[in-house]
């Protein structure tokens, strides 16, 4: 009975979504306020219905209701409760439900926090989000219903959650990522609303800026969590694999990054209007495309866990409607957009244009590399694969170019920067970063790596330039004590994000060029040298986990003669699925990670063991954390709150006069 409540709530949400898609739009077109006013209540109702539906599915997991096929396929009596919760989004149907829930959640936030926006505008925005919701809910109900039952003979036990996903990182990674993906739908909806209404001035940019920034921040954290999870769970010790699914999240991220920057230009200067609209459409379209690529089986990938051509046809149809429709509307309307105003060659606009250009080229090259196997296959060229060499060869130089320009943007002024003195601090920055960058590989010792020198110089270049900008701007406002509170939060967010990128670049350069890595044969009593440490295997045992059996090795790590730490990597075999997973032992540190993973059992009771020292690897994710934090800080900017308050006061005044 209870699963049927969830199913019913899902159908109800679908019906509400149809109303949400139709009524406000009709109200806008026929100029009837009453219909427009349905948008906010409908958005709230839809959120409620989907929350019930989601809650019921989660209850099914917690209560071991194996009569629900999705639960039976993805849970097990032995599965710990926290993984039973995250198992809700562990496979295709449930992750779609999460997607729909988050879309509804963003709809609710738009309904609640759009008081500064004219009613007909928020009605259109919610209507567009309703249309997207209709597509997704129809997809779920007709091809991927999570509430399908196995009755009357339901299994006594479930098939268990994919062991790869039985990990704390996976509890948070998909929701974060979806918050980002789906959050981009708000910027998309604003762009569409302004295209529908034909009001193509800069106001839509002002409204959609905070939404874009927060979606971007979630996307950043989601990607970083995924990369961190891959690092410690997949047992290879890599942090990025250029896998189609990873690329599917990186492409919208690159476009959303470009969008954030071009929105700034559109809002402040009214320029790039047509381009910004296109980016807003592209960012969300590419998120949808990512979903299509992952879910349809068009591309084979290590984590395409729901390959089904029938579903693929449905998603493709949906993509055609959403992307094709929005691009058509764009083509009809955008040709009428005028671009008032000019800017000089050296101005903040031109640097942001440069930023957009490079980011777009990056996104297009990653997209091409990801789709290339498909394109070649489609024209009968057979199966090819595009690997990391291609992506690295394209991505690394483009990043270097992008980062070289990054220092100038914040220092430049809008319209024009006639005054070359603005860039004077960069001369010192350049000298310091080049000198330290060139010296850095020598300080490290070992073979001199020019790649490291360039990478470190670039990271320093950004970090110092950000610091210089910080000191200059804080100086404008007076002493350090009172200033931070007075500087625009958006500015602080930018500093954090730029500084974060510098940290990430430094981490990537160090770990890619200076990882010390060895695959060895080790048995109990064997000792191996690892960087400044000696690693001794002291024990090998078999451990019984809740739903797996593991071979566990105990390693004592010595620094000189003193015991530094004892670690226990495992090789687990999950009972229900028979899958074997590597649980690496990682000792994290600021300057390095020690990484010990068990490979394969060898004859004579020995194991193949993988030992690595990964310098500064955690900086990659620390940088991403700073970027995400920057996004969150910047949306707390006073001007966003002020507008709401002004509106409230205006409302209160109206109420008083009435």
């Amino acid at each position: 009975m209870i699963p049927e409540i969830g199913h019913f709530a899902l159908v109800l949400a679908f019906a509400i979504a149809i109303c949400l898609a139709v009524f406000p739009l009709y109200g806008y077109l026929s100029n009837q306020q009453g219909f427009c006013a349905t948008a906010k209540p409908l958005a709230l109702l839809q959120g409620l219905a989907l929350a019930v539906s989601f809650g019921v599915l989660m209850y099914g997991f917690l209560a071991h209701d194996f009569s629900v096929k999705y639960v039976a396929d993805n849970s097990n009596l032995d599965l710990p409760w926290y993984f039973r919760m995250s198992a809700v989004w562990g496979a295709h149907e449930g992750s779609l439900l999460l997607w729909a829930l988050i879309l509804a959640f963003w709809g609710v936030t738009v309904a609640l926090f759009s008081r500064g926006i004219p009613d007909h505008m928020s009605a259109l925005v919610l209507s567009v989000m309703g249309m997207i919701s209709v597509g997704f809910l129809a997809f779920m109900l007709f091809t991927s219903n999570p509430f399908v039952r196995i009755l009357p003979f339901s299994p006594a036990n479930g098939a268990d959650l994919n062991p790869l996903l039985q990990d704390p990182g996976l509890i948070f990674h998909p929701p974060m990522l979806y918050m980002g993906y789906v959050g981009l739908s708000v910027a998309f909806a604003f762009a569409m609303a302004s295209l529908i209404s034909g009001k193509l001035d800069a106001t839509w940019a002002r409204w959609s800026r905070p939404w874009t920034t927060i979606a971007w921040a979630f996307l950043t954290l989601g990607i970083a969590l995924g990369s961190w999870w891959a690092y410690y769970e997949l047992g290879w010790g890599g942090w990025w694999f250029w896998d189609p699914v990873e690329n599917a999240s990186l492409i919208p991220w690159l476009v959303a990054t470009a969008l954030m920057h071009s929105l700034a230009v559109t809002e402040k200067r009214g320029l790039f209007r047509s381009w910004t609209l296109l980016l807003a459409i592209a960012a969300f379209s590419l998120s949808l495309l990512g979903t299509f690529l992952v879910r349809s089986g068009v591309l084979t990938s290590v984590h395409a866990f729901a390959n089904d051509p029938e579903r693929g046809v449905f998603i493709l149809g949906f993509l055609i409607v959403v992307i094709g429709g929005s691009l058509t509307l764009y083509a009809i309307r955008a040709s009428k957009v005028s671009e008032p105003g000019e800017f000089a060659w050296i101005s903040r606009e031109s640097f942001l244009l440069f930023n957009n250009l490079i980011l777009t080229v990056m996104a297009v090259s990653v997209l091409l590399g990801t789709l290339y196997p498909l394109l070649v296959d489609a024209v009968g060229g057979g199966k090819v694969s595009v690997g990391p060499p291609f992506f690295n060869a394209v991505f690394v130089p483009l990043t270097a170019i992008l980062v070289s320009g990054m220092a100038f943007g914040p220092l430049a002024k809008w319209r024009q920067s006639e005054d070359p003195r603005l860039f004077r601090p960069l001369i010192v920055t350049l000298i310091v970063s080049v000198v330290v960058g060139l010296a850095w590989p020598s300080i490290l010792g070992g073979q001199y790596s020019i790649g490291t020198a360039i990478g470190v110089a670039l990271a320093l270049w950004v970090a110092i330039a950000t610091a210089v900008d910080f000191v200059k701007k804080v100086g404008l406002y007076g002493g350090v004590g009172t200033t931070l509170a007075r500087v625009e939060r958006g500015m602080i967010g930018m500093w954090l994000a730029h500084f974060g990128l510098a940290l990430t670049i430094f981490g990537v350069v160090m770990v890619e060029n200076h990882t010390e890595h060895r695959d060895l044969r080790m048995g109990v009593g064997d000792s191996q040298n690892l960087g400044p440490y000696d690693v001794l295997m002291t024990d090998l045992t078999v451990i019984n986990g809740p739903n797996y059996v593991a071979d566990q090795a105990t390693f004592e790590i010595y620094q000189g003669d003193a015991l530094y730490k004892t670690v226990t990597p495992q090789k687990r075999r999950y009972n229900a699925s028979g899958m074997v997973m590597t649980e690496a032992a990682i000792d994290s540190g600021v300057t390095r990670d020690l990484y010990i993973a068990m490979g394969e059992p060898l004859d004579g009771g020995d194991w193949a063991v993988r030992l690595s020292v990964k310098p500064f690897v955690d900086w990659i994710w620390a940088g991403a954390f700073f970027m995400g934090l920057g996004g969150f800080v910047s949306i707390t900017d006073k001007r966003y709150r002020q507008r709401v308050r002004e509106e409230k006061e205006a409302g209160a005044a109206e109420g008083a006069t009435a």
Binding site: A282, G297, N307, P309, S335, E600
Partner: protein, 172 residues
């Protein structure tokens, strides 16, 4: 100019949709049926044991089983005794799939090596051409190198009697 340029994104998307649509019909899971009746794809790999180059021409000239396996694959261990028994009856060619040389050799040393030829495919290139979804998979190939059946998962006596034996009889 601008009036034409704004249609460009839509045009690019339309072309992509064409490719995607084609891509859907090329679903990797539909490959097995497409490969049945087709010759084994050409390949240029090495023999795991000898390290010598190996190509399609060096496969047996009589009906044989092409068994995709790897040392990391648990089910491969399960089916290994039965394959060893089968190898008395007909040649079994191994395709060591996405494996390392050391691990594969250790595995064979430990469990015995019934394979007539051992194709070493560490990158999974031939596996991809064959449409292999995972190990183990076994293909029945006739004397002229044409694939007649694909079995996903374990090969045991029941599978042999039901899916392989009837086809083998049609060869004679």
């Amino acid at each position: 100019m601008n009036r034409i340029m704004v249609w460009l994104p839509l045009a690019v998307f339309a072309i992509l949709v064409g490719f995607f649509f084609k891509g859907l019909t090329l679903d990797p899971r539909e490959q097995p049926s497409a490969l049945i009746g087709q010759p084994v794809p050409e390949f240029q790999l090495t023999d795991l044991n000898t390290g010598q180059p190996l190509s399609r021409e060096q496969l047996p000239q009589q009906p044989f089983l092409l068994n995709v396996w790897a040392s990391w694959c648990i089910t491969c261990q399960v089916e290994h005794p039965y394959l060893t028994q089968l190898s008395q009856q007909m040649p079994v060619v191994g395709l060591n799939y996405k494996d390392t040389e050391t691990a594969a050799k250790n595995w064979l040393q430990k469990l015995g090596d019934p394979y007539a030829v051992q194709i070493f495919d560490p990158t999974g290139r031939l596996g991809l051409d064959l449409g292999v979804a995972g190990a183990p998979e076994t293909f029945l190939v006739d004397g002229s190198g044409v694939i007649h059946a694909r079995i996903q998962g374990e090969v045991n006596q029941r599978v042999f009697e039901r899916q392989i034996q009837p086809l083998l009889e049609t060869f004679q």
